[in-house]
Amino acid sequence: VRWLAASKLAVLVGLASLALAATPIVEAQDPEQPQGETPEKETPPEEAPPAPEEAAPKPAAPKKDTGLGTFFFEIDDWIAQPSGLEYRAATVRNPTDPWENAVATVEQNGAPGWYLRGGFGLHDDVGDIVLSYYRHTEDRHLESLTPGEFLYGEITTAGLFAGVNLDGLADGFSAETVTRIRDFRVDFARQAFESKGVSGKWLVGYRDMSHYRSLDTAYFAIAPNLPPILPPAASPRNDLIPRPDTAQISSSYEGRGLEAGFDVRFKVWRDKVWFDTGVVMAVLQGTMSTAYRSTTHFYGVVDQSGEIFIVPPPYDSFNECDFQGCFVDSVVQIATPVGVQDQSQSEEGSIIETNLALRYRFWKTAEFVVGYRSASYENVGQDLRTAEVEVGNQLIFASDGTLLLRLNPVTLERSPRSVEYEGVYFGVAFGF
């Protein structure tokens, strides 16, 4: 399993090797009676004397016992769009109605990814061993900049000292999301019934999946319109250019468990076209690791005893000058970081996967597949946040000279997250 999870390439190479190894066996078999046939894709339907008069259970056709059975693999390009991720990056202030602020969410688009299936049918129609592998990575970016117009609520930061005016608002934000999933399953499938034009299979198996999600946001004060730091103030004061407030929320889940499902195949036209549908449900037990980081900033003055005074907005006091200088000369920008990590919590997740597909046998044991698949992964992510923080009392100099005043988390909040992948897929299947 670990080897297969290494990469798609590894899977392809592995399946190709299996196919090559199976070639002599295939030649020895009766092309009209492939042994074992997976539910949805797989086998050479044409070789499987499909449904001709399959009203009754498949007759025990004479088969050569090779010790193995028929091999098959299928490669699909699944254009899946993740949804339900709830990557909420910022609120958008409605200037006229305080009850009608909008939410800016990082939306995901459909991106293609390989969905690989392969395996072999055991001889004497005992059943099929089916391996499936899917991997999908989605990186998205959302940015909105309105210099001078402070419209965006910094909803992912810890809240305290958020916004250049300490009002939680920014005039621009940028959000990056990363969503990754890796899903591996190995199933045993066996025919449950077969009648004229319709056949069904049940399946049970093992599932191993991992899911990673992260939302990184930066909130800007692009045009803060602070009082000018010009003579007689000591300028330039690049250190007073508002630094962006930032937040990172991420979680990683590793889960495994058992699954069960059922597939049904309908013959549509001769032995050429079939319609497949199936559903699989899995219950997972796994570990969740979550992390949260937030950094906000404020302007302050530190006296000789080390006591910190917050300079409140609006910063008119920056303008106060006398013959000795200006007040702004003593102002510094202080960062207030806070973060928390929670490793290896035990969490239960679940998966429901359904699919519909149309299959067309275009050459001997080769099929073309077009379908729609939906896979819902429940409780495989978590957003961890600090709900309440307190201001520390120790000022720290970071390596870059930045002044840091730590915030201490007091209470935390967790929000379970799920993800659903759905979209069309198309591919090819071969049997040997």
């Binding site: 045009a223 000018p228 007689p232 303008n319 000058c321």
Partner: protein, 232 residues
């Protein structure tokens, strides 16, 4: 597989589009002025009747007679200030300084109102006070005649005479900040206003006056303001 790859490419292409920008460059312009309370003066040409014996006719110009009035008006006054202009290009968050002045090398406009004629002052033979006008201490007319020996710089803003202009692309943001000189630090000019100069900036985009974000005026001694305007 080739079919799959081609379809994948098509799928990817269909998911990303780039909207072209349609607006051309726009010109942002800013002017700055300062207003203060100044005293009204009557300025006369002082002539002397040098005829012997005096014939009552002014003969020679001797000087200007500047007569203060117990009247104060708020007018545009020349006041030194520092200024800086910056631009934030569309889609970026970094400010680029496009113009900055030496400290207090900018000067707001003078009181350019045309002096109004007034009746002659009663003569004090052999001197006659004629061609009188009413003006203010912020007027170049007054300063040239009544403050001899003091050099008055021409008004300017970031090196340009009265209007600073800069070309912006769509979505760019123009930031202007200015700070007045303290009264205590100002040389002879500081004697001109009787109140703290109230400085104001006006912004125009393609000739139309716009209301920028931030503040555009300040009435504190030595104060300043920062304002920005974005093109859409």
């Amino acid at each position: 597989l080739a079919t799959i790859a081609a379809a994948s490419v098509l799928g990817s292409l269909s998911c990303s589009t780039t909207q072209p920008t349609s607006a051309g460059p726009q010109v942002v312009a800013v002017t700055a002025s300062a207003f203060g309370l100044v005293q009204v003066f009557l300025v006369y040409e002082k002539f002397e009747d040098v005829s012997q014996p005096p014939d009552g006719v002014p003969d020679l110009f001797r000087a200007y007679e500047c007569v203060p009035q117990n009247q104060f008006v708020s007018v545009s006054i020349p006041w030194p200030y520092s200024a800086e202009a910056a631009v934030i290009r569309a889609g970026t968050v970094d400010e680029i300084i496009v113009a900055a002045s030496e400290p207090f090398s900018n000067l707001t406009p003078y009181d350019t109102a045309t002096p109004q004629p007034v009746s002659d002052l009663a003569p004090s033979p052999p001197f006659y006070f004629i061609n009188g006008v009413q003006t203010t201490t912020a007027s170049p007319f007054f300063l040239e005649r009544c403050r001899p020996g003091v050099t008055f710089e021409p008004s300017n803003i970031l090196g340009q005479p009265v209007v600073f202009e800069f070309e912006l692309a769509q979505g760019d943001t123009f930031v202007f900040r200015a700070r007045k000189q303290l009264i205590v630090d100002a040389s002879p000019y500081a004697q001109i206003p009787l109140s703290v100069p109230d400085m104001t900036a006006n912004f125009f985009v393609d000739g139309r006056q716009v209301t920028p974000s931030g503040t555009t005026s300040d009435s504190q001694d030595g104060g300043g303001f920062t304002a920005s305007v974005s093109t859409r």
